[in-house]
């Protein structure tokens, strides 16, 4: 069965610092891969997605993610975080039905 692991429940970084959120998955083949962001009490917004081709994908709000097939990973990165990036981030994998990780809560300190 497919599964998604986000090992970091909560991450705190300083504003302006770099960020990496980890995501590992287990799937029968290489699935479609997604990162979503959720602000408190809101729905989820798509940050970026990977289907095929270039393993480094660019998303909105300055985020990027790198797909590493050998590690079954799809880590999310941002070179310099802003206070507005504080939110919960979800990695998801699949095709017609997506399986989500349990999320990583990001806190930004001044």
């Amino acid at each position: 069965a497919q599964s998604v692991t986000q090992p970091d429940i909560h991450i705190t970084v300083s504003e302006g610092a770099s960020l990496e959120l980890r995501c590992n998955y287990s799937y029968g083949a290489t699935p479609y891969l997604f990162w979503y962001v959720q602000s408190p009490g809101q729905g989820l917004q798509l940050l970026l997605k990977y289907f095929s081709g270039d393993t480094l994908v660019q998303g909105i709000k300055g985020f990027e993610a790198e797909f590493k097939r050998s590690q079954s990973s799809f880590n999310l990165r941002k070179p310099s975080v802003h206070w507005s990036d504080a939110a919960e981030y979800f990695c998801a994998v699949g095709y017609e039905v997506l399986t989500f990780g349990t999320g990583t809560r990001l806190t930004i300190i001044p």
Partner: protein, 111 residues
């Protein structure tokens, strides 16, 4: 334009009362629709999904049911709510390679 609507935004219901949450999509036809529940610290749990009118797949046996009476309408229901049904419910629409587009969610509190 293509949009997804979900309501109500918040709901407080007593134990044993019925539930009906509605989700509608505009600007597309024959969409794949999904209901997820989000509990604190547990990510998103797929409850139901539908690939067409009257076609419902249930992922988790529980106190809820879903229906798709029209092409762009997906309803989540319960005859008698339990305390454990409390949570944040999200409707989603699969936009092909663009992944899911989510509704704004319904916060359900069962008291």
């Amino acid at each position: 334009s293509q949009t997804i609507h979900q309501w109500p935004a918040t709901l407080v219901q007593p134990v044993g009362s019925p539930l009906s949450l509605e989700c509608t999509v505009e600007g597309t036809s024959n969409p794949n629709l999904y209901w997820y529940r989000q509990a604190a610290g547990r990510g998103l749990q797929l409850l139901f999904y539908s690939v067409g009118i009257g076609q419902i797949s249930s992922e988790v046996p529980q106190n809820l049911s879903a229906s798709r009476p029209q092409d762009r309408q997906f309803i989540l229901s319960s005859k008698k709510l339990l305390l454990s049904d409390s949570g944040f419910y999200l409707c989603a629409w699969l936009r092909g390679q663009y992944g899911y587009t989510f509704g704004s969610g319904t916060r359900l509190t069962v008291v």
